[in-house]
């Protein structure tokens, strides 16, 4: 009885002594408490680090004296929360975005240059195959185009004619942006099937483009379709090829993980390739806006369309290679071959 009572009084003394620190740490580390911002202050960081160190001692002591108790578990969880908060990357989404767009974009392009080239070649070949198929076997067009599209072209008009009469530019732009985002995300994520999903999407898109071009060529509408596609199409197709390259890198990471484990290699690849997609987001939006406002608008001449399309593609290429910021990221020596 005496033993229990002295144990209780020792526990009481310890709790009285340590309770203040635990409460403070608990308040700071509570999810969504907002107190996380205060930790940025120098003095508070020191206090927090000291509290964390003493909490680790408390956990050790509690594990020895009260194994399996609720108090021990509470202290363990508090320690895990505080430790994970202490090790958390400094915040500031804006800073991360700036670093990605200014410093990392060129490096990413350099790392993925071979895959980008491969995917672009596959896409271009698919376009030619699609063209060749329809020129030689016109009936196959029903595989790549909807009945409505085929009927329109056979009547001598494009499905894009009078698009602005059907819906306003703003809606059109939003629909196009959503569609582009979905195709790009799918091309990327389908890489998880050892790159085969990505290959399917790239080849299918290439075949569709080639076959539709060939079909409109047969009906003397090729120039009009080209005029529609030119202002936005170059960048849009480039982004799809980049997403394909990102998807292929996932597939390759799974198929050939190298010295890393398959899952480590996959995670690394997802993170690098995913950044590349984030870089493309503003271009999706601009392409959608151009496709909604400029492409279907007949008041733009062919020359204007060529200038817009080529200039936009040039800006895109300068940006994606990192040359627009004149960073040193293209320096071959500075890039690690770790993808």
């Amino acid at each position: 009885m005496n033993n229990t009572s002295s144990k209780n009084s020792a526990l009481l003394r310890w709790l009285k002594q340590r309770q203040g620190t635990w409460k403070k740490l608990s308040e700071i580390s509570a999810p969504g408490s907002g107190a996380i911002n205060d930790v940025n202050e120098y003095r508070q960081v020191l206090d927090f680090a000291e509290g964390l160190r003493s909490l680790a001692s408390d956990v050790s002591l509690a594990r020895i004296t009260m194994p399996g108790s609720q108090l021990t578990r509470t202290l363990e969880i508090l320690l895990a929360q505080c430790s994970s908060m202490f090790n958390e990357q400094p915040g500031g989404a804006w800073r991360l975005v700036k670093r990605l767009y200014r410093d990392e974009v060129g490096q990413l392009f350099y790392l993925m240059r071979q895959r980008i080239l491969t995917v672009t070649l596959i896409f271009v070949m698919s376009v030619f195959i699609g063209w060749w198929l329809i020129i030689n076997f016109p009936d196959l067009v029903s595989l790549f185009a909807s009945e409505q599209m085929i009927e329109e072209v056979e009547k001598g008009s494009l499905w894009t004619d009078g698009l602005l009469n059907i819906m306003p530019s703003s809606i059109l732009a939003i629909q196009i942006i959503s569609n582009n985002v979905m195709v790009t995300l799918f091309a990327y994520a389908m890489g998880v099937f050892y790159g085969l999903g990505t290959l399917y999407i790239i080849v299918l898109n290439g075949l569709m483009l080639g076959s539709v071009f060939a079909f409109t060529y047969q009906h003397h509408l090729f120039e009009r379709l080209l005029a529609f596609i030119l202002p936005h199409g170059l960048v849009e197709l480039s982004v799809i090829c980049l997403a394909g390259a990102a998807g292929f890198s996932l597939g390759e990471a799974l198929a050939r993980p190298g010295q890393k484990s398959r899952i480590e290699s996959f995670q690394k690849s997802v993170s690098v390739a995913g950044k590349f997609l984030v870089v493309c987001v503003p271009f999706f939006i601009c392409s959608g806006v151009i496709e909604g406002y400029i492409s279907p608008n007949d008041s733009y001449s062919m020359a204007n369309r060529v200038v817009i399309g080529v200039a936009y593609e040039l800006i895109f290429l300068l940006f994606i290679t990192g040359k627009i910021w004149q960073t040193e990221s293209l320096n071959q020596k500075s890039v690690k071959h770790d993808l």
């Binding site: 209780n8 009084s9 526990l11 009481l12 709790l15 009285k16 309770q19 635990w22 409460k23 608990s26 999810p31 969504g32 160190r53 680790a56 956990v59 050790s60 108790s69 609720q70 108090l71 578990r73 509470t74 363990e76 969880i77 508090l78 320690l79 895990a80 430790s83 994970s84 908060m85 090790n87 958390e88 990357q89 989404a93 991360l96 819906m167 306003p168 703003s170 809606i171 939003i174 995300l185 799918f186 990327y188 994520a189 389908m190 998880v192 899952i263 996959f266 995670q267 997802v270 993170s271 995913g274 950044k275």
Partner: protein
Amino acid sequence: MEQLKIDVGQGIDIRFNVAGLGVRSFAFVIDWHIRFILALAWLFFWFLLIDFSQSWFDNMSRLFKESSSTAYLLVFLPAMIMYFFYHPTLEILMKGQTPGKRMAKIRVVGQDGEIAGIGAHLIRNIFRLIDSLPLFYCFGVLVCLLNDRHLRIGDMAAGTIEIYVDHETKVIMDDIDHFIKDDRLDLEQRQIIRDLIKRWEILDHSMRETLSRQLLLKVGGQGSREELQALQGEDILQSLKDILSS
């Protein structure tokens, strides 16, 4: 149950139970209902606002038929954003939780136990496209079943894992407060009483009353020994609550 071991440095590692398919599905179903109801509530709000004189159903059918640009931008687009951006937005804002996950007492963390970053949350949600193939998350569920840590493809890609966070830290801190003020009831006894109250409804009547009487006698509830033994039903429960709050 599979456990995640987190190394917090200083020679200490802490274990957390990994959330299984059942609890993850439970959280998802709750979240799905919340986002669906939110999106629907937004639509109804606008249908009401557009024309008070007509019924909800008429408004809805009229909007779907006309599909005007204003209706699309003001009504449908925000509803779609609410539905599709629910998971990534809330997971980032609530540090790995959503209302559904909070109710299911689980949280998304990095596989090293650290708080998952914005990038990780975005990636795990992008890969929902694959997990949801061919429909109703079949692929994700299958993958989840086939690995020990119950990870779907999105988790594997983002390096995240879902763990149980069902511990009531605040309650234990309050217990310490009470114990410091009045040490007649120690922390362990408080926990036993709280567990008993929590499970009151699911325990057998006679069993819970016997247990409670024994407990009250041991910890010295208010009243004499005879009075405590004579307590029945809700009075016993109330006595237990009184002890905790006294």
